[in-house]
Symmetry: C2
Subunit: 141 residues, 2 copies
């Protein structure tokens, strides 16, 4: 398996390329929807990889820092992750199959500026997640 984006991100940032990290990067690359830390633990076990739970959490944290992965909060309140590349953006997540798609600015920045102006708050951070049904699931009924 060729090195994934996550592996390059680790390398570029000066992190060691360990066996565990490569494996976790592979597991993430093999997923396509969003996933939880527990999913990766289960995947690792299914493949008989000996990776500690703690290592999975630690690696996810690092990857979130490096923005190779983004953390999101599902409507259920669960914490999940999606693989991604660009610096800051948002996702539309299919609540049926979990497929996610990046979306760009789309006038969003203007909305934030308008809110700042009207509330007097200085907005430093935000969390924006959209949930719905993807085109495939729509047509599949």
């Amino acid at each position: 398996m060729t090195d994934s984006i996550a592996v390059h991100a680790l390398d570029d940032a000066g992190y060691r390329l360990t066996e565990a990290r490569r494996s976790i990067a592979d597991l993430i690359a093999a997923r396509n929807g969003h996933f939880t830390a527990a999913d990766l633990v289960a995947d690792a076990r299914a493949r008989h990889l000996e990776i500690g739970r703690a290592t999975i959490f630690r690696t996810l944290d690092v990857l979130v820092d490096l923005q190779a992965v983004e953390r999101l909060d599902l409507p259920t309140g669960d914490h999940a992750y999606v693989a991604c590349e660009r610096a800051h953006h948002h996702h539309v997540v299919c609540s049926n199959c979990g497929a996610s798609r990046d979306i760009d600015d789309a006038g969003w920045r203007a909305v934030v500026r308008d809110i700042e102006r009207r509330t007097g708050y200085r907005i430093d951070d935000h969390r924006l997640e959209l949930f719905g049904v993807c085109p495939d699931c729509k047509s599949a009924g």
Copy 2:
């Protein structure tokens, strides 16, 4: 203490007005920023109210259902709540003092429609939270 909005919401929805629920509504009314379930447990203990932990969680769930309270996810990943009234809206939360303020549509609906058109997703639900510094904390330095 006069009955809070939360108490009316429970009543209107046909829930029983129990001592525990009134107390919890009071605790919520006495807070002004966002708070966690654990905060309420601590508040209850501080006031020597004998309310079970489970009851606090259950009541919060009910209040979220009734939209007397909204659940939000802080950037840290913690689950918190804010008291609120209107049906569906969003908040700007001060990351310094926790004060929150409602915001209305602000062109947001148009952004969502645009995203639907461009991605082909049908968007059913979303999560939008803004974090920053409120005017008071800004001027307080």
